[in-house]
């Protein structure tokens, strides 16, 4: 569905994408992971033919630069921030649906399903809507006008937690038959939505695989939060430090956060049960992006024979 070969892009002297090769099959849900400035948005701009680039980039076998109009018809795009059009929601939906050669019915139906029927919200100016509502409108527009590929460029970056949850639920529910490529630097979102992860780092494709493979490659295990009753935190922490499945831990008054050794937090939970530790509840948390990227860099450097100095890793 999407294929890139030798994809490269520079802004002046700065290399933003360097020789990217990847392939995304129809219906795959792929997360594009990387720190700010890693080239995620630039990759989207290349796919939409908004910028020139080196190499070959195709959607459905069609080169994006040669058949940009046809390719864009297949792609629904939701940017990080809402485009500031001086229109009402109904005008906005009607205008962009027409530009896409689609009826307004598809986006309108999706909006109704998302709790924003045009009959009630259509008269409101885009500027009056919350960020989450506008992102939902963009999503409905992208999917309701027949796109087979959905590009989401950090769509939740500027949303509050509630809107973020709503939007992600909508994306998860509405994109079953769609090829999804979404940029994020939130590992919790990726865990829920993605079949596969592409990691961009230092302009290169640093990783291409599943999330589990990423944890294994980087040895960046998930974190486990254990709630512990008052006064028993020290005992729990001391006992867990002896467990082979625990790589490290931090304790505070309310509980203990454990860095899990390996990829499964189950071993730690089994140990908690076996030792009869007083744990009230638990939550798993993905490792921090910073840790993952740092370890990925170390892995790649060691594979290429470069000696890296020891480095403090922040959480």
């Amino acid at each position: 569905m999407i294929s890139a070969s030798g994809l490269g892009k520079s802004y002046g002297a700065q290399r933003v994408l360097d020789g990217l090769d990847f392939r995304i099959e129809r219906g795959e849900r792929v997360a594009l992971l990387g720190p700010n400035g890693a080239g995620k948005t630039t990759l989207f701009r290349c796919l939409l033919s908004l910028t020139d680039f080196e190499g070959d980039l195709r959607v459905d076998g069609e080169a994006v630069t040669q058949r940009c109009k046809e390719v864009r018809r297949k792609i629904g795009y939701v940017p990080q921030t809402a485009p500031p059009y001086d229109m009402t929601l109904a005008e906005f939906v009607a205008f962009f649906a027409s530009l896409r050669g689609a009826s307004v019915d598809g986006p309108a139906d999706l909006l109704a399903g998302l709790g924003m029927p045009l009959g009630q919200t259509g008269d409101k100016a885009l500027a009056e809507l919350s960020g989450g509502m506008v992102q939902k409108a963009l999503l409905a527009l992208a999917l309701g006008s027949g796109s087979s590929v959905l590009l989401l460029d950090e769509p939740t970056a500027n949303l509050d937690p509630g809107s973020r949850r709503d939007l992600f639920r909508a994306v998860r529910d509405l994109t079953e038959d769609v090829t999804l490529l979404f940029a994020s630097h939130r590992l919790d979102e990726i865990e829920v939505l993605a079949d596969r992860v592409l990691v961009l780092h230092d302009a290169e494709l640093a990783f291409d695989g599943t999330l589990d493979e990423l944890w294994r490659t980087t040895d960046a295990a998930p974190r486990l939060w254990l709630a512990v009753p008052d006064g028993k935190v020290d005992r729990v922490a001391a006992e867990l430090r002896e467990c082979p499945a625990v790589a490290g831990l931090r304790a505070n008054g309310a509980g203990v956060e454990v860095d899990v050794r390996g990829t499964s937090s189950l071993d730690v939970l089994v140990e908690v049960r076996r030792r009869g530790l007083p744990v009230g509840e638990f939550r798993t948390r993905p490792p921090s992006l910073e840790l993952v990227l740092d370890q990925l860099s170390s892995c790649r450097a060691s594979r290429s024979g470069v000696d890296l100095p020891p480095k403090e890793v922040g959480q």
Partner: protein, 270 residues
Amino acid sequence: MTVRLLAQAGVRDSLRAYWFWLNAGIFVAGGLLLMLFGQVDVTLLGYRSYGRALAGLMQLALFVVPLMALLSAGAAISGARETGALDYLLAQPVTRGEVFAGKWLGVVSAVVASLVVGYGVTGAVAAAKGVPALPIAMLLLFTIVLAAAFVSIGLWVSARTSTRGRATSVVFTLWLAFLALGSLGLMAAFVRWGLPAGLLEIWSLVNPVEAFRLAMIALLETDPGLFGPAGASLLGRLGRAGLIAAASGSLVLWTAVAYWAGRRAFMSAE
């Protein structure tokens, strides 16, 4: 289809903008005032009464229309680029060529609409007072061509600038330059540097503001003294019809060349 949709969106935006109503208001108010004074039964410098009013309207158009066209076209692309709206638009199944054509058509349509409102009211009052409609229609037609030329110039600037503020300052400078390089400023420069008269004639046709002025004076058949030295020389050399054709050609050429250059800049922009 796509160009029409984009142009309609441009017109809708313009109808919400203050400049559209300001432009129409200036022409309605100016036209009515001039028509009122134009009816005074005085013959001066060869004017017929309505001819004076039309010449006044022409002077109004000379100042206002290029500025309105430049300001609105100057913001059309650069403003959308600055806010990110252009990227979202270009992410849809449209080509850059269609977007440029749509923007041009949208701004021209809006300017024309405001002129039609302005001249229309003036024309209705004039017709009620027995003034022939043809000169007003010709003035409207030539003002539209003038507007089209300056919309093309404004969009060219807009395609080459990254922010609305920068585009506005460039088009404002251009407006001043075109006005300052009109007959009087130009003549002073030529006298100061002793340039050949032929060059002054060519420049009078090349400057779109001056070309419009010469075409309108020739069309309205007012006092030949209003042509100025370069215009009078051109009138003698080309005749009235030739001067009108040459000046009109200059405006059309400005429209086409600036459109082509702007489109080219927009097609190659990131």
